[in-house]
Protein backbone atom coordinates (compact mmCIF):
# COMPACT_ATOMS: atom_id res chain seq x y z
CA UNK A 1 0.00 0.00 0.00
CA UNK A 2 3.02 2.26 -0.44
CA UNK A 3 3.54 4.68 -3.26
CA UNK A 4 7.01 3.80 -4.53
CA UNK A 5 7.69 6.75 -6.86
CA UNK A 6 10.64 8.69 -5.45
CA UNK A 7 9.60 12.04 -4.03
CA UNK A 8 10.15 14.12 -0.92
CA UNK A 9 7.13 12.51 0.80
CA UNK A 10 6.15 8.86 1.12
CA UNK A 11 2.58 7.75 1.79
CA UNK A 12 1.25 4.55 3.32
CA UNK A 13 -2.12 3.40 4.63
CA UNK A 14 -2.68 0.98 7.51
CA UNK A 15 -6.00 -0.43 8.73
CA UNK A 16 -6.46 -1.40 12.35
CA UNK A 17 -7.64 -4.75 10.91
CA UNK A 18 -8.39 -5.83 7.32
CA UNK A 19 -12.06 -6.73 7.89
CA UNK A 20 -15.24 -5.20 9.30
CA UNK A 21 -18.46 -6.82 10.43
CA UNK A 22 -21.05 -6.91 7.65
CA UNK A 23 -23.75 -5.84 10.10
CA UNK A 24 -22.01 -2.49 10.57
CA UNK A 25 -18.77 -1.78 12.39
CA UNK A 26 -16.20 0.74 13.63
CA UNK A 27 -12.47 0.69 13.04
CA UNK A 28 -9.48 2.95 12.48
CA UNK A 29 -7.38 3.99 9.48
CA UNK A 30 -3.86 5.41 9.66
CA UNK A 31 -2.33 7.36 6.80
CA UNK A 32 1.35 7.72 7.40
CA UNK A 33 3.23 10.52 5.68
CA UNK A 34 6.99 10.36 5.93
CA UNK A 35 9.33 13.03 4.65
CA UNK A 36 12.65 12.04 3.12
CA UNK A 37 15.53 11.91 5.62
CA UNK A 38 17.81 14.05 3.47
CA UNK A 39 17.17 17.77 3.49
CA UNK A 40 17.40 19.65 0.20
CA UNK A 41 20.85 20.89 -0.76
CA UNK A 42 21.22 24.49 0.52
CA UNK A 43 21.01 25.88 -3.02
CA UNK A 44 17.74 23.97 -3.58
CA UNK A 45 15.91 24.85 -0.40
CA UNK A 46 12.99 27.27 -0.47
CA UNK A 47 13.87 30.83 0.49
CA UNK A 48 12.33 31.82 3.82
CA UNK A 49 10.46 34.98 4.78
CA UNK A 50 10.01 35.14 8.52
CA UNK A 51 8.34 37.87 10.58
CA UNK A 52 8.79 37.90 14.34
CA UNK A 53 5.90 39.37 16.34
CA UNK A 54 7.39 40.03 19.77
CA UNK A 55 5.27 40.86 22.81
CA UNK A 56 7.00 43.57 24.83
CA UNK A 57 4.17 44.17 27.28
CA UNK A 58 5.12 44.99 30.86
CA UNK A 59 5.03 41.37 32.01
CA UNK A 60 7.78 40.46 29.50
CA UNK A 61 10.25 42.73 31.35
CA UNK A 62 13.46 41.07 32.47
CA UNK A 63 14.74 37.64 31.44
CA UNK A 64 11.81 36.83 29.12
CA UNK A 65 12.31 39.80 26.86
CA UNK A 66 16.10 39.76 27.00
CA UNK A 67 16.37 36.05 26.22
CA UNK A 68 13.74 36.29 23.47
CA UNK A 69 15.72 39.10 21.83
CA UNK A 70 18.95 37.13 22.05
CA UNK A 71 17.29 33.99 20.71
CA UNK A 72 15.82 35.81 17.70
CA UNK A 73 19.14 37.47 16.91
CA UNK A 74 20.99 34.15 17.19
CA UNK A 75 18.43 32.28 15.08
CA UNK A 76 18.58 34.90 12.34
CA UNK A 77 22.21 33.99 11.78
CA UNK A 78 21.09 30.73 10.21
CA UNK A 79 19.27 32.62 7.49
CA UNK A 80 21.07 33.41 4.24
CA UNK A 81 21.12 36.45 1.98
CA UNK A 82 18.23 35.01 -0.10
CA UNK A 83 15.98 34.85 3.00
CA UNK A 84 14.25 37.80 4.60
CA UNK A 85 13.24 38.74 8.14
CA UNK A 86 11.04 41.37 9.78
CA UNK A 87 10.52 42.38 13.41
CA UNK A 88 7.25 43.71 14.82
CA UNK A 89 6.87 44.56 18.49
CA UNK A 90 3.60 45.09 20.26
CA UNK A 91 2.16 46.13 23.59
CA UNK A 92 -0.94 48.30 23.43
CA UNK A 93 0.61 49.78 20.28
CA UNK A 94 2.15 48.00 17.35
CA UNK A 95 5.41 48.98 15.77
CA UNK A 96 7.34 47.60 12.82
CA UNK A 97 10.88 47.76 14.17
CA UNK A 98 12.52 46.14 11.19
CA UNK A 99 10.79 45.93 7.84
CA UNK A 100 11.02 42.72 5.86
CA UNK A 101 14.56 42.82 4.46
CA UNK A 102 17.11 40.32 3.14
CA UNK A 103 19.14 38.63 5.88
CA UNK A 104 22.52 39.59 4.52
CA UNK A 105 25.23 40.20 7.11
CA UNK A 106 24.26 43.86 7.04
CA UNK A 107 20.53 43.05 7.30
CA UNK A 108 21.12 40.79 10.29
CA UNK A 109 23.17 43.55 11.92
CA UNK A 110 20.26 45.96 11.50
CA UNK A 111 17.84 43.38 12.91
CA UNK A 112 20.10 42.91 15.92
CA UNK A 113 20.28 46.66 16.53
CA UNK A 114 16.49 46.91 16.22
CA UNK A 115 16.20 44.14 18.84
CA UNK A 116 18.68 45.88 21.16
CA UNK A 117 16.41 48.89 21.36
CA UNK A 118 13.32 46.97 22.40
CA UNK A 119 12.26 47.63 25.98
CA UNK A 120 9.13 46.59 27.90
CA UNK A 121 5.90 48.58 27.54
CA UNK A 122 2.14 48.32 28.35
CA UNK A 123 -0.66 45.81 27.64
CA UNK A 124 -1.11 43.18 24.92
CA UNK A 125 -2.52 43.88 21.44
CA UNK A 126 -1.76 40.35 20.31
CA UNK A 127 -3.88 40.45 17.15
CA UNK A 128 -2.46 43.78 16.02
CA UNK A 129 1.13 42.61 16.50
CA UNK A 130 0.57 39.30 14.81
CA UNK A 131 -1.41 40.71 11.87
CA UNK A 132 1.15 43.46 11.32
CA UNK A 133 3.89 40.81 11.21
CA UNK A 134 1.83 38.90 8.64
CA UNK A 135 1.38 42.15 6.74
CA UNK A 136 5.15 42.52 6.54
CA UNK A 137 5.23 39.14 4.83
CA UNK A 138 2.32 40.02 2.57
CA UNK A 139 2.97 43.56 1.46
CA UNK A 140 6.07 42.60 -0.41
CA UNK A 141 5.13 39.82 -2.86
CA UNK A 142 7.94 37.31 -3.13
CA UNK A 143 10.12 38.09 -6.13
CA UNK A 144 11.00 35.43 -8.70
CA UNK A 145 9.16 32.22 -9.38
CA UNK A 146 10.61 30.10 -6.59
CA UNK A 147 8.07 29.15 -3.93
CA UNK A 148 8.94 30.90 -0.67
CA UNK A 149 8.14 29.84 2.87
CA UNK A 150 6.28 32.62 4.65
CA UNK A 151 6.08 32.24 8.40
CA UNK A 152 5.06 34.55 11.21
CA UNK A 153 6.38 33.71 14.68
CA UNK A 154 4.24 35.17 17.44
CA UNK A 155 5.81 35.23 20.89
CA UNK A 156 3.75 36.27 23.91
CA UNK A 157 3.52 35.67 27.63
CA UNK A 158 0.05 37.02 28.29
CA UNK A 159 -3.58 37.27 27.39
CA UNK A 160 -4.78 39.19 24.37
CA UNK A 161 -6.57 42.18 25.88
CA UNK A 162 -6.68 44.73 23.03
CA UNK A 163 -7.78 44.26 19.42
CA UNK A 164 -9.21 40.86 18.49
CA UNK A 165 -9.28 38.73 21.63
CA UNK A 166 -11.69 35.94 20.64
CA UNK A 167 -9.76 32.65 20.10
CA UNK A 168 -12.18 31.45 17.40
CA UNK A 169 -11.88 34.65 15.44
CA UNK A 170 -8.08 34.63 15.66
CA UNK A 171 -7.99 31.01 14.49
CA UNK A 172 -10.26 31.91 11.58
CA UNK A 173 -7.90 34.65 10.45
CA UNK A 174 -4.92 32.32 10.88
CA UNK A 175 -6.55 29.79 8.57
CA UNK A 176 -7.43 32.48 6.02
CA UNK A 177 -3.82 33.67 6.00
CA UNK A 178 -2.57 30.12 5.69
CA UNK A 179 -4.67 29.82 2.54
CA UNK A 180 -2.98 32.93 1.30
CA UNK A 181 0.47 31.47 1.89
CA UNK A 182 1.35 32.75 5.36
CA UNK A 183 1.76 30.23 8.17
CA UNK A 184 1.67 31.09 11.88
CA UNK A 185 3.72 29.58 14.68
CA UNK A 186 2.87 30.64 18.23
CA UNK A 187 5.14 30.62 21.27
CA UNK A 188 3.73 30.97 24.77
CA UNK A 189 6.21 31.85 27.53
CA UNK A 190 5.52 31.31 31.24
CA UNK A 191 2.18 30.50 32.83
CA UNK A 192 -0.08 33.44 32.07
CA UNK A 193 -0.94 32.99 28.39
CA UNK A 194 -3.99 31.19 26.96
CA UNK A 195 -2.75 27.85 25.62
CA UNK A 196 -6.01 27.13 23.80
CA UNK A 197 -5.87 30.46 21.97
CA UNK A 198 -2.25 30.02 20.90
CA UNK A 199 -2.56 26.34 20.00
CA UNK A 200 -5.75 27.08 18.05
CA UNK A 201 -4.01 29.78 16.03
CA UNK A 202 -1.11 27.47 15.21
CA UNK A 203 -3.40 24.58 14.35
CA UNK A 204 -5.45 26.69 11.94
CA UNK A 205 -2.42 28.62 10.75
CA UNK A 206 -0.36 25.64 9.58
CA UNK A 207 2.46 26.26 12.06
CA UNK A 208 3.36 24.89 15.48
CA UNK A 209 2.48 25.87 19.04
CA UNK A 210 5.38 25.89 21.48
CA UNK A 211 5.14 26.08 25.25
CA UNK A 212 8.20 27.67 26.84
CA UNK A 213 8.09 27.02 30.57
CA UNK A 214 11.31 28.91 31.17
CA UNK A 215 12.81 31.66 28.99
CA UNK A 216 16.13 29.79 28.90
CA UNK A 217 14.43 27.35 26.48
CA UNK A 218 13.86 30.10 23.92
CA UNK A 219 17.28 29.88 22.37
CA UNK A 220 16.98 26.17 21.57
CA UNK A 221 13.42 26.63 20.29
CA UNK A 222 14.27 29.35 17.79
CA UNK A 223 17.32 27.42 16.59
CA UNK A 224 15.11 24.39 15.99
CA UNK A 225 12.29 26.35 14.38
CA UNK A 226 14.58 28.11 11.92
CA UNK A 227 16.39 24.79 11.33
CA UNK A 228 13.06 23.16 10.47
CA UNK A 229 12.26 25.94 8.02
CA UNK A 230 15.66 25.48 6.36
CA UNK A 231 14.94 21.78 5.94
CA UNK A 232 11.39 22.03 4.57
CA UNK A 233 10.91 19.48 1.78
CA UNK A 234 7.14 19.86 1.28
CA UNK A 235 5.38 23.23 1.35
CA UNK A 236 1.68 23.36 2.22
CA UNK A 237 0.83 19.69 1.83
CA UNK A 238 -2.88 19.01 1.51
CA UNK A 239 -4.51 15.61 1.76
CA UNK A 240 -7.73 14.73 0.01
CA UNK A 241 -9.60 11.64 1.11
CA UNK A 242 -12.94 10.47 -0.29
CA UNK A 243 -14.92 7.80 1.47
CA UNK A 244 -17.14 5.47 -0.57
CA UNK A 245 -20.85 4.98 -0.01
CA UNK A 246 -21.28 2.93 3.17
CA UNK A 247 -18.15 4.24 4.87
CA UNK A 248 -17.69 7.35 7.00
CA UNK A 249 -14.51 8.83 8.36
CA UNK A 250 -13.59 11.44 10.90
CA UNK A 251 -10.10 12.91 11.36
CA UNK A 252 -8.78 12.62 14.91
CA UNK A 253 -5.64 14.78 14.50
CA UNK A 254 -5.44 18.49 15.18
CA UNK A 255 -5.50 19.77 11.61
CA UNK A 256 -8.10 21.96 9.92
CA UNK A 257 -10.47 19.95 7.75
CA UNK A 258 -12.83 21.09 5.03
CA UNK A 259 -15.58 18.71 4.19
CA UNK A 260 -17.80 18.44 1.12
CA UNK A 261 -19.98 15.32 1.18
CA UNK A 262 -17.74 12.29 1.57
CA UNK A 263 -14.59 14.22 0.60
CA UNK A 264 -12.29 15.76 3.18
CA UNK A 265 -9.43 18.15 2.57
CA UNK A 266 -6.89 18.24 5.35
CA UNK A 267 -4.45 21.16 5.45
CA UNK A 268 -1.22 19.83 6.88
CA UNK A 269 1.78 21.84 8.06
CA UNK A 270 4.96 22.30 6.02
CA UNK A 271 7.02 19.16 6.42
CA UNK A 272 10.79 19.13 7.01
CA UNK A 273 13.16 16.28 6.22
CA UNK A 274 12.72 13.43 8.70
CA UNK A 275 9.18 14.46 9.64
CA UNK A 276 6.80 11.61 10.33
CA UNK A 277 3.08 12.16 10.53
CA UNK A 278 0.34 9.62 11.30
CA UNK A 279 -3.12 10.84 10.33
CA UNK A 280 -5.77 8.83 12.12
CA UNK A 281 -9.35 8.49 10.93
CA UNK A 282 -12.18 7.03 12.98
CA UNK A 283 -14.08 4.86 10.50
CA UNK A 284 -17.67 3.62 10.63
CA UNK A 285 -19.10 1.25 8.07
CA UNK A 286 -22.78 0.78 7.29
CA UNK A 287 -24.37 -2.71 7.17
CA UNK A 288 -23.82 -4.37 3.78
CA UNK A 289 -23.48 -7.62 1.88
CA UNK A 290 -20.78 -10.01 3.11
CA UNK A 291 -17.56 -10.06 1.02
CA UNK A 292 -18.20 -6.60 -0.39
CA UNK A 293 -15.14 -4.35 -0.22
CA UNK A 294 -14.75 -0.72 0.77
CA UNK A 295 -11.81 1.65 0.27
CA UNK A 296 -11.36 5.41 0.35
CA UNK A 297 -9.35 7.21 -2.32
CA UNK A 298 -6.43 9.25 -1.04
CA UNK A 299 -4.36 11.93 -2.72
CA UNK A 300 -1.70 14.29 -1.42
CA UNK A 301 -0.64 17.52 -3.10
CA UNK A 302 2.32 19.66 -2.07
CA UNK A 303 4.93 22.03 -3.42
CA UNK A 304 8.43 20.61 -3.63
CA UNK A 305 10.92 23.48 -3.17
CA UNK A 306 13.87 21.57 -4.65
CA UNK A 307 12.01 20.62 -7.83
CA UNK A 308 10.22 23.98 -7.78
CA UNK A 309 6.89 22.45 -8.74
CA UNK A 310 3.67 21.06 -7.37
CA UNK A 311 3.62 17.31 -6.81
CA UNK A 312 0.53 15.13 -6.60
CA UNK A 313 0.53 11.57 -5.30
CA UNK A 314 -2.25 9.04 -5.27
CA UNK A 315 -2.27 6.32 -2.64
CA UNK A 316 -3.85 2.94 -3.30
CA UNK A 317 -5.58 1.85 -0.12
CA UNK A 318 -6.23 -1.87 0.30
CA UNK A 319 -10.03 -2.25 0.63
CA UNK A 320 -11.69 -3.40 3.86
CA UNK A 321 -13.78 -6.57 3.46
CA UNK A 322 -17.18 -7.05 5.08
CA UNK A 323 -17.31 -10.40 6.87
CA UNK A 324 -19.66 -12.17 9.35
CA UNK A 325 -19.13 -10.56 12.75
CA UNK A 326 -17.77 -13.76 14.29
CA UNK A 327 -14.80 -13.59 11.93
CA UNK A 328 -13.86 -10.13 13.09
CA UNK A 329 -12.79 -11.44 16.49
CA UNK A 330 -10.18 -13.70 14.92
CA UNK A 331 -8.92 -11.18 12.38
CA UNK A 332 -5.29 -10.13 12.80
CA UNK A 333 -4.68 -6.64 14.18
CA UNK A 334 -1.94 -4.37 12.96
CA UNK A 335 -0.08 -3.36 16.12
CA UNK A 336 1.58 -0.28 14.56
CA UNK A 337 -1.81 0.99 13.42
CA UNK A 338 -3.36 0.27 16.82
CA UNK A 339 -0.62 2.17 18.61
CA UNK A 340 -0.99 5.20 16.32
CA UNK A 341 -4.79 5.14 16.63
CA UNK A 342 -4.94 4.81 20.39
CA UNK A 343 -2.26 7.49 20.92
CA UNK A 344 -4.04 9.94 18.65
CA UNK A 345 -7.41 9.33 20.28
CA UNK A 346 -5.79 9.86 23.68
CA UNK A 347 -4.28 13.14 22.46
CA UNK A 348 -7.74 14.27 21.36
CA UNK A 349 -9.23 13.29 24.72
CA UNK A 350 -6.50 15.24 26.50
CA UNK A 351 -7.12 18.38 24.44
CA UNK A 352 -10.82 18.14 25.16
CA UNK A 353 -10.13 17.51 28.86
CA UNK A 354 -8.03 20.68 29.10
CA UNK A 355 -10.74 22.70 27.38
CA UNK A 356 -13.30 21.41 29.90
CA UNK A 357 -10.92 22.00 32.79
CA UNK A 358 -10.50 25.63 31.73
CA UNK A 359 -14.28 25.94 31.49
CA UNK A 360 -14.58 24.76 35.10
CA UNK A 361 -16.20 21.42 34.13
CA UNK A 362 -13.79 19.37 36.22
CA UNK A 363 -15.80 16.13 36.44
CA UNK A 364 -16.16 15.93 32.66
CA UNK A 365 -12.49 16.82 32.21
CA UNK A 366 -11.44 13.96 34.49
CA UNK A 367 -13.81 11.63 32.63
CA UNK A 368 -11.96 12.39 29.38
CA UNK A 369 -8.61 11.59 30.97
CA UNK A 370 -10.14 8.36 32.28
CA UNK A 371 -11.52 7.48 28.84
CA UNK A 372 -8.05 8.00 27.34
CA UNK A 373 -6.61 5.72 30.03
CA UNK A 374 -9.11 2.93 29.39
CA UNK A 375 -8.40 2.95 25.64
CA UNK A 376 -4.65 3.02 26.21
CA UNK A 377 -4.75 0.12 28.65
CA UNK A 378 -6.40 -2.07 25.98
CA UNK A 379 -3.70 -1.34 23.38
CA UNK A 380 -0.33 -3.10 22.90
CA UNK A 381 1.80 -1.86 25.78
CA UNK A 382 4.67 -0.14 24.00
CA UNK A 383 6.83 2.35 25.90
CA UNK A 384 4.95 5.29 24.37
CA UNK A 385 1.56 3.81 25.25
CA UNK A 386 2.64 3.02 28.82
CA UNK A 387 3.91 6.56 29.37
CA UNK A 388 0.70 8.09 28.04
CA UNK A 389 -1.38 5.66 30.11
CA UNK A 390 0.50 6.67 33.24
CA UNK A 391 -0.14 10.38 32.57
CA UNK A 392 -3.83 9.80 31.77
CA UNK A 393 -4.44 7.79 34.95
CA UNK A 394 -2.62 10.35 37.05
CA UNK A 395 -4.71 13.23 35.64
CA UNK A 396 -7.96 11.25 35.90
CA UNK A 397 -7.30 10.71 39.60
CA UNK A 398 -6.79 14.41 40.43
CA UNK A 399 -9.36 16.07 42.63
CA UNK A 400 -12.14 18.13 41.05
CA UNK A 401 -10.21 21.39 41.01
CA UNK A 402 -8.48 23.29 38.24
CA UNK A 403 -5.24 21.74 37.00
CA UNK A 404 -2.18 23.89 37.52
CA UNK A 405 -1.16 26.13 34.60
CA UNK A 406 2.03 24.24 33.84
CA UNK A 407 0.17 20.92 33.49
CA UNK A 408 -2.48 22.45 31.24
CA UNK A 409 0.07 24.04 28.94
CA UNK A 410 2.34 21.02 28.85
CA UNK A 411 -0.60 18.72 27.97
CA UNK A 412 -1.90 20.93 25.17
CA UNK A 413 1.62 21.34 23.80
CA UNK A 414 2.44 17.62 23.95
CA UNK A 415 -0.83 16.45 22.48
CA UNK A 416 -0.71 18.93 19.62
CA UNK A 417 2.93 18.27 18.86
CA UNK A 418 2.36 14.55 18.61
CA UNK A 419 -0.81 15.01 16.63
CA UNK A 420 0.87 17.19 14.06
CA UNK A 421 3.86 14.93 13.51
CA UNK A 422 7.33 14.63 14.96
CA UNK A 423 10.77 14.80 13.50
CA UNK A 424 13.69 12.44 13.86
CA UNK A 425 16.35 14.90 14.84
CA UNK A 426 19.16 12.64 15.93
CA UNK A 427 21.21 13.38 12.84
Amino acid sequence: MTDATPSSLTLAALWERPVVAARGDETGLVIRITATETPSAPQNRAPIDVAFALDRSGSMAGAKLELAKQAIAAASHHLAAGDRAALVIFDNAVEVRHELAPTTAEGRGRLRRALDEVGPGGSTNLSGGWLTACQELATDPPAGDRPRIQRSLLLTDGLANIGITDPGELAHHASQLRRRGIATTTIGVGEDFDELLLSGMAEAGGGAFQYIAHPSELHAFFEREIGDLLDVVAIRPRLRITFPHGMRGHLVNAFPVERAGGTFHVDLRDLASGDDLALVFDITTAPGEERTRLAPTVELVWTDPAANRQVERHLDVEPLTRVPWQEVRHAPHDDDAREAIVMERAARDHREAIRLDRAGRFAEARAHFRQAGVALSAAPQTARVREELHISEDLAARSFAPLDEHTRKQRVFESQRRSRGTRHRER
Partner: protein, 193 residues
Amino acid sequence: MSGRRPDPPHRRHNDEPSFSLDELTSAAGVTVRTVRYYIAEGLLPPPVGGGPRSRYTRDHLDRLRLIGRLKDAFMPLKEIRRRLQSMSDEEIRDAAGETAADMAPPAPLASPPSEGATDAAAYIGRVLRESAPPHYDAERLVVAARMPPRAQSWRRIEISDDAELLVTEDAWDRRGDQIDAAVDWLRRILNER
Protein backbone atom coordinates in the same frame (compact mmCIF):
# COMPACT_ATOMS: atom_id res chain seq x y z
CA MET B 1 -34.37 48.66 -5.09
CA SER B 2 -37.54 50.63 -4.48
CA GLY B 3 -38.47 49.85 -0.87
CA ARG B 4 -36.64 50.93 2.25
CA ARG B 5 -35.53 47.42 3.08
CA PRO B 6 -33.81 45.05 0.63
CA ASP B 7 -35.98 42.36 -0.97
CA PRO B 8 -35.97 39.11 0.97
CA PRO B 9 -33.40 37.02 -0.91
CA HIS B 10 -35.51 33.84 -1.00
CA ARG B 11 -37.54 35.46 -3.75
CA ARG B 12 -34.49 35.62 -5.91
CA HIS B 13 -33.62 33.31 -8.81
CA ASN B 14 -32.55 29.86 -7.78
CA ASP B 15 -29.81 29.52 -10.39
CA GLU B 16 -27.58 32.09 -8.69
CA PRO B 17 -24.66 30.77 -6.67
CA SER B 18 -25.24 30.65 -2.94
CA PHE B 19 -22.74 30.66 -0.13
CA SER B 20 -22.40 29.42 3.40
CA LEU B 21 -21.45 32.05 5.97
CA ASP B 22 -17.84 30.86 5.86
CA GLU B 23 -17.70 31.00 2.09
CA LEU B 24 -19.24 34.45 2.09
CA THR B 25 -16.79 35.84 4.66
CA SER B 26 -13.83 34.32 2.79
CA ALA B 27 -15.01 35.67 -0.55
CA ALA B 28 -15.62 39.13 0.84
CA GLY B 29 -12.64 39.20 3.21
CA VAL B 30 -14.72 40.17 6.24
CA THR B 31 -15.38 38.51 9.56
CA VAL B 32 -18.50 36.65 10.64
CA ARG B 33 -19.05 39.31 13.26
CA THR B 34 -19.09 41.99 10.57
CA VAL B 35 -21.70 40.15 8.51
CA ARG B 36 -23.95 39.79 11.55
CA TYR B 37 -23.45 43.42 12.43
CA TYR B 38 -24.37 44.59 8.92
CA ILE B 39 -27.50 42.43 8.94
CA ALA B 40 -28.51 43.88 12.30
CA GLU B 41 -27.86 47.39 10.97
CA GLY B 42 -29.95 46.80 7.83
CA LEU B 43 -26.97 47.07 5.46
CA LEU B 44 -27.40 43.46 4.39
CA PRO B 45 -30.60 41.43 3.99
CA PRO B 46 -30.92 38.44 6.34
CA PRO B 47 -29.74 35.06 4.99
CA VAL B 48 -32.01 32.58 3.22
CA GLY B 49 -33.18 30.02 5.79
CA GLY B 50 -32.07 29.95 9.39
CA GLY B 51 -29.53 28.36 11.70
CA PRO B 52 -26.46 26.53 10.43
CA ARG B 53 -28.12 25.82 7.06
CA SER B 54 -28.64 29.47 6.19
CA ARG B 55 -27.34 30.53 2.76
CA TYR B 56 -26.19 33.83 1.35
CA THR B 57 -26.60 35.02 -2.23
CA ARG B 58 -24.55 36.93 -4.74
CA ASP B 59 -26.48 39.99 -3.62
CA HIS B 60 -24.89 39.66 -0.17
CA LEU B 61 -21.43 39.44 -1.68
CA ASP B 62 -22.04 42.46 -3.96
CA ARG B 63 -23.22 44.50 -1.02
CA LEU B 64 -20.29 43.45 1.19
CA ARG B 65 -17.81 44.39 -1.52
CA LEU B 66 -19.44 47.74 -2.11
CA ILE B 67 -19.57 48.47 1.63
CA GLY B 68 -15.85 47.62 1.82
CA ARG B 69 -15.07 50.10 -0.95
CA LEU B 70 -17.16 52.85 0.57
CA LYS B 71 -15.55 52.23 3.96
CA ASP B 72 -12.14 52.46 2.30
CA ALA B 73 -13.26 55.88 1.12
CA PHE B 74 -14.00 56.75 4.79
CA MET B 75 -17.77 56.98 4.22
CA PRO B 76 -19.68 56.60 7.51
CA LEU B 77 -21.96 53.54 7.81
CA LYS B 78 -25.05 55.72 8.08
CA GLU B 79 -24.28 57.26 4.72
CA ILE B 80 -23.46 53.86 3.21
CA ARG B 81 -26.84 52.53 4.32
CA ARG B 82 -28.62 55.53 2.82
CA ARG B 83 -26.78 55.03 -0.46
CA LEU B 84 -27.46 51.27 -0.60
CA GLN B 85 -31.16 51.85 -0.03
CA SER B 86 -31.32 54.10 -3.06
CA MET B 87 -29.64 51.60 -5.39
CA SER B 88 -31.03 48.63 -7.34
CA ASP B 89 -29.34 45.21 -7.12
CA GLU B 90 -27.88 45.76 -10.59
CA GLU B 91 -26.46 49.12 -9.62
CA ILE B 92 -24.92 47.61 -6.52
CA ARG B 93 -23.43 44.84 -8.60
CA ASP B 94 -21.98 47.32 -11.07
CA ALA B 95 -20.63 49.48 -8.32
CA ALA B 96 -19.06 46.49 -6.62
CA GLY B 97 -17.31 46.16 -9.97
CA GLU B 98 -16.90 42.43 -10.09
CA THR B 99 -16.99 40.10 -13.05
CA ALA B 100 -19.14 37.00 -13.16
CA ALA B 101 -16.07 34.80 -12.75
CA ASP B 102 -15.44 36.19 -9.27
CA MET B 103 -18.94 35.24 -8.25
CA ALA B 104 -18.63 31.48 -8.67
CA PRO B 105 -18.68 29.66 -5.34
CA PRO B 106 -15.23 28.37 -4.29
CA ALA B 107 -14.06 25.66 -6.69
CA PRO B 108 -13.49 22.12 -5.43
CA LEU B 109 -9.99 22.17 -4.01
CA ALA B 110 -7.79 19.71 -5.77
CA SER B 111 -4.59 21.44 -4.81
CA PRO B 112 -3.62 23.75 -1.95
CA PRO B 113 -5.29 27.04 -2.66
CA SER B 114 -2.84 29.88 -2.92
CA GLU B 115 -4.36 33.25 -3.25
CA GLY B 116 -1.11 35.14 -3.17
CA ALA B 117 0.57 37.83 -1.19
CA THR B 118 -1.39 40.79 -2.52
CA ASP B 119 -4.59 39.10 -1.52
CA ALA B 120 -3.15 38.42 1.95
CA ALA B 121 -2.25 42.11 2.27
CA ALA B 122 -5.80 43.18 1.40
CA TYR B 123 -7.23 40.65 3.81
CA ILE B 124 -5.00 41.76 6.69
CA GLY B 125 -5.64 45.43 5.94
CA ARG B 126 -9.35 44.87 6.26
CA VAL B 127 -9.12 42.82 9.45
CA LEU B 128 -6.84 45.39 11.06
CA ARG B 129 -9.23 48.20 10.18
CA GLU B 130 -12.23 46.31 11.52
CA SER B 131 -10.53 45.20 14.71
CA ALA B 132 -8.90 48.50 15.51
CA PRO B 133 -9.56 49.38 19.14
CA PRO B 134 -10.76 52.93 19.89
CA HIS B 135 -8.13 55.58 19.09
CA TYR B 136 -6.09 53.02 17.22
CA ASP B 137 -5.89 53.90 13.56
CA ALA B 138 -4.32 50.84 11.96
CA GLU B 139 -3.73 52.59 8.67
CA ARG B 140 -1.88 55.48 10.25
CA LEU B 141 0.03 53.28 12.62
CA VAL B 142 1.32 51.08 9.86
CA VAL B 143 2.25 54.15 7.85
CA ALA B 144 3.99 55.64 10.88
CA ALA B 145 5.82 52.40 11.45
CA ARG B 146 7.04 52.44 7.87
CA MET B 147 8.85 55.70 8.22
CA PRO B 148 12.62 55.62 7.57
CA PRO B 149 14.57 53.56 10.13
CA ARG B 150 16.08 56.63 11.84
CA ALA B 151 12.63 57.85 12.80
CA GLN B 152 11.67 54.47 14.18
CA SER B 153 13.73 54.86 17.33
CA TRP B 154 11.57 56.49 19.92
CA ARG B 155 12.42 57.71 23.36
CA ARG B 156 9.84 57.42 26.12
CA ILE B 157 9.76 60.21 28.66
CA GLU B 158 7.64 59.68 31.73
CA ILE B 159 5.54 62.71 32.56
CA SER B 160 3.39 61.38 35.39
CA ASP B 161 2.03 58.04 36.60
CA ASP B 162 -0.41 57.95 33.73
CA ALA B 163 1.22 59.93 30.94
CA GLU B 164 4.28 59.60 28.77
CA LEU B 165 5.75 61.59 25.92
CA LEU B 166 7.25 59.86 22.88
CA VAL B 167 9.87 61.67 20.85
CA THR B 168 12.12 60.39 18.11
CA GLU B 169 15.79 60.02 18.91
CA ASP B 170 16.35 62.48 16.11
CA ALA B 171 14.20 65.13 17.77
CA TRP B 172 15.80 64.36 21.12
CA ASP B 173 19.21 65.10 19.63
CA ARG B 174 18.22 68.19 17.68
CA ARG B 175 15.65 69.83 19.96
CA GLY B 176 16.71 68.69 23.39
CA ASP B 177 16.19 72.07 25.07
CA GLN B 178 12.70 72.59 23.69
CA ILE B 179 11.71 69.06 24.62
CA ASP B 180 13.06 69.55 28.15
CA ALA B 181 10.99 72.72 28.44
CA ALA B 182 7.90 70.95 27.13
CA VAL B 183 8.42 68.08 29.57
CA ASP B 184 8.78 70.48 32.50
CA TRP B 185 5.62 72.27 31.48
CA LEU B 186 3.64 69.03 31.00
CA ARG B 187 4.85 67.65 34.34
CA ARG B 188 3.81 70.82 36.10
CA ILE B 189 0.32 70.76 34.60
CA LEU B 190 -0.32 67.05 34.93
CA ASN B 191 1.04 66.71 38.45
CA GLU B 192 -0.82 69.73 39.77
CA ARG B 193 -3.50 67.79 41.58
